[in-house]
């Protein structure tokens, strides 16, 4: 029987027999690419939260010299106060020099502080992911590394992160490096644990198969073990996005002169709950955007998964 005969009669038969979508399933239905619609209950809960907030501001609002719960109007009106967080330039002078706050100055103040926090978050996240995942792979790879690093790494996981901020401040002063290291530390530890677990779950037969095809251990690691483990890192990589925002804000809160965390800290100092609320909304917005970008990217990277 020639191979040609074989190919002609087998394919159509097979694709017609396997009714469960054997031949190509349509690409659009792959996981992660499904169109997501907003659930009606989600809208309801959103409205409920807004209503509760507004109610709280009415009933608990005006007290003791500052607003415990600012209303919406207060929150949006407080935008102008961001002008106080602008150091001057680009056509808006610093309010510290006695200039009147302007909307343009407020825009620059908010933009600048958001930009700085965002950059720190992204940079810290990237460093943390690379080192956490890298260390995880190193440990799974080398017995020596496993012996040396497993215990300290697990110890590090036990440490209360927030309590360590002063320690980082002590080590790094109020430098940029301290913030970045702190975010990277928080993210790295999380991903380190997830990576070790994910590698442990890669079936042995993948390794055996690749080796029996002639792949070196290193190639097998890079081309087989890593991609096989990757879908399991997906959840951790997403979780770490939210995590790195929190870590960035926390680190800025305690000892930075610029960034949304610094804005929060100084607004709290002056009991400007409206600025705190508005800044919170800004953080939620940008954290959501980075989360969605990360989610889309990860969905694309794992589009092959079943």
């Amino acid at each position: 029987m020639s191979s040609k005969d074989n190919s002609i009669d087998s394919v159509p038969e097979e694709s017609s027999q396997d009714s469960s979508g054997d031949a190509l399933q349509d690409e659009g239905s792959s996981s992660g690419r499904k169109a997501r619609r907003i659930h009606p209950l989600a809208i309801l809960s959103f409205v409920a939260i807004i209503a509760a907030w507004q109610a709280a501001s009415i009933f608990l609002g005006e007290t003791v010299g500052y607003k415990r719960v600012p209303g919406f109007e207060d929150v949006f009106r407080s935008f102008i106060e961001y002008a106080g967080y602008w150091q001057g330039g680009l056509g808006a002078e610093s309010t510290r020099t006695g200039a009147e706050p302007t909307n343009w100055g407020a825009t620059l103040g908010l933009g600048h502080n958001t930009f700085v926090t965002m950059l720190r978050t992204i940079a810290g996240y990237t460093i943390g992911v690379v080192t956490g995942v890298g260390l995880g792979f190193l440990i799974a790879w080398s017995k020596v590394a496993r012996g040396l690093l497993t215990f300290p790494a697990h110890l590090a996981r036990m440490m209360p992160l927030l309590a360590m901020i002063p320690l980082f401040a002590l080590w790094f002063g109020d430098s940029q490096l301290g913030v970045l290291t702190f975010i990277a530390f928080a993210v790295g530890i999380l991903l380190f644990a997830i990576t070790i677990n994910a590698i442990g779950n890669v079936p042995l037969h993948y390794w055996q198969y690749a080796r029996s095809l002639g792949a070196s251990p290193l190639r097998t690691y890079a081309r087989v073990v890593f991609p096989a483990a990757f879908p399991q890192l997906r959840g951790g990589l997403l979780l770490a996005v939210a995590f790195s925002w929190s870590a960035a804000l926390a680190a800025e809160f305690l000892g930075q002169q610029v960034g949304l965390g610094h804005v929060l800290q100084s607004a709290l100092y002056y009991a400007s709950t409206d600025v705190v609320a508005l800044t919170g909304l800004v953080v939620i917005l940008f954290a959501a955007v980075t989360y969605l970008v990360a989610n889309k990217t990860l969905a694309w990277l794992t589009r092959w998964a079943e």
Binding site: N6, V11, H205, Q208, S212, R223, W304
Partner: protein, 290 residues
Amino acid sequence: MQDVDGSGAMSQGGSGEHARRTRSTDGHPTAPRDPSPPAIELRSVTKTFVLESGEDLTAVRDASLTVARGEFVCVVGPSGHGKSTLLNLIAGFIEPSSGEIFVNGAPVEGPGPDRGVVFQRDTLFLWRRVAANISFGLEARGVPKQERKATVERYLKTVGLEGFAGAWPRQLSGGMRRRVAIAAVFANEPDVFLMDEPFVGLDYLRRAQLHRVLLDLWAEGGHRAVFMITHDVDEALALGDRILVVKEGRIVESVRVDLPRPRSTYMITGEEASAIRRSVVLHFGDLEIA
């Protein structure tokens, strides 16, 4: 060696004279290799696992075997009796507790591309498209790109999947995946094929198609030996030059299948085949079936 066709070359317990005689013809076992050594050679191989409970479990006992170049050997036997362990030993995934294993005259030290393995479980790389799956071994061995492309196309054609080079494995049916797995291993052109129940879970027709694909690839290679585990005696009769029966870790029987090729359903249900089937099946014990 004289038993190039592998007939009667297996040795086990009382029936081991042949292998011993074979060995004595070249003086001592580690003498300079024969110019064309057998594809697979096992000398008194034993594998004992130490279980977590601390107990020993001997999965393969004193197995000796010679598989000639180009020979198609099928291995049958009750499950849990050491067939896969035997295959894993030859593949180099595990080391024997005692005894020696040679492939093409060279001692086995870990897995290598001279032995292609088709697993029972699906081992396709899900993150690689079909064509990239088939070229994995070629890339690993440094085959130039142009040559890789040609080889992949050739093997895709042989297994009847020309149109699916760009598909992800998840988009294929079980039967198609098996074909990709087989093509990926054959494209790497190993000397020895080790297959562990490669067609389990496929229906009769699908299997027959895959048998044809397998035999085409085998015939194409010429000198390649196949060591295939199956739990289906009919499959062994349809494909094998020889059937080994493994029971309680021992190779207890080696029967030649002298049916001409290509084999038909008629042939493998005929008198000669039935005699072989009986001699094989009776090793499983005279079970009360109904």
